[in-house]
Symmetry: C2
């Protein structure tokens, strides 16, 4: 059975309220950091964390925002907070790396076996961790934003897996091709999985509630991308 | 233990020498037709067939050429035979569909659970089976050629999975994007998995022996694409 525990982190005058999901045995395990969507720490991501726990990983659902809005309710505040973070990609990178280091030093976390995965905005964050050259085993993006961070290119050490809905209105095909080029030039060991007739937010059964055209749950893509993640984590954290 | 048995098919004055690989129990099982590379029926594809057999499928390694050359030796004859078949995509489609129907009617083949997979030229063939609108559950292409068949577009019933090396000199990124567009327009349930720093022929440990730039084995891509195939067949033939 999974147990949830608070993992508070002070960062630049804010308190980031991460949640660590563990199996209660006190074992040291490979650990997956989950960067949520724009809506912040939600039952959706906590559910993914429990599934990862069942597979033999600790999981940390990261709070990037310091809970400055009510998740699932205050959509405007959430998008404003995301816009703020996306406006300064160097500061966002530093925030992400601070979270990675905070997790790395925790008890029972196998510091050499860390992966960072993310959803939507969190997918972009996972890619930005890779782009920073950070020493993590792997990153994975689910329907992430692919736009480059604009910072000086670094050799990418982390393995990269991006799972992408081909009809995602925020990430058209030419941007997928550009990501392939970028990851190749940075030397990453990378994969991009594309799913036809699939839009943005495909892992989230409530995605349509955002009321944005092209943002919708897709059962097949959710299932296939999760299976791909399982294979991938077994490879990179095994 | 797998057993191999000849499956001869007369087709337009030729004898196609397919090989069926089965588990010897006489069970009716979902069946995978493997279309080989330009080099025809080879130990490589027979090995894949044995692995599929161990997963609970019958497998048929198809002979498209009527063994008109010595596999693995007569490279010029092989490329000439492939060129002949590729020059008339309607005739190639008919040949492929004849093979599918020949397999479908065999004893112990679950005729409602057929998949067609292929390698290189055989990957193109697998896609052409889907493009024909054929009633098969699924097709999969490993480092296949993506160029369209030029025949009138049909609604695609088969699920489609293409596994592709991003540095494949025969299939540049714009051709990948074009395939995504084509499959979307034909209504296919499709996936394309792209692998960075990977060329053509990545499943074949002897690919470099062809002596063609950009054609090489890639251990990670071979492993990852096989894992993707296992997940996919469990979904589409399960």
């Amino acid at each position: 059975m999974s147990e949830q525990r608070e993992l508070k982190q002070e960062y630049q005058g804010q308190v980031l309220d991460h949640v660590i999901v563990h199996d209660g045995t006190g074992r040291t395990l490979p650990t997956v950091i989950i960067i949520p969507t724009v809506m912040g720490v939600q039952p959706l991501e906590l559910g993914f964390a429990e599934k990862l726990n069942a597979l033999g990983y600790h999981a940390v659902v990261a709070d990037l925002f310091g809970r400055r809005f009510t998740p699932g309710v205050d959509k405007e505040a959430a998008f404003a907070a995301m816009g703020e973070l996306r406006a300064d990609r160097a500061a966002l990178r530093d925030r992400l790396l601070a979270i990675v280091e905070e997790v790395r030093k925790r008890e029972h976390v196998d510091s050499s076996k860390l992966a960072v995965i993310g959803y939507c905005f969190g997918g972009q964050c996972a890619l930005d961790v890779a782009r920073s050259g950070a020493d993590v085993a792997a990153v994975a993006s689910f329907h992430g934003l692919f736009d480059p961070c604009g910072l000086p290119a670094q050799p990418i050490k982390a393995k990269v897996l991006a799972m992408h809905g081909w009809d995602d209105p925020m990430v058209p095909p030419e941007v997928v091709v550009a990501l392939g080029k970028e990851l190749t030039e940075c030397g990453a060991d990378w994969q991009i999985h594309c799913y036809g007739h699939v839009g943005h937010g495909f892992t989230n059964p409530n995605a349509h509630q955002l009321g944005i055209k092209g943002v919708a749950f897709n059962e097949a893509a959710a299932r296939r991308s999760w299976a791909a993640l399982e294979d991938y984590l077994a490879e990179v954290l095994g």
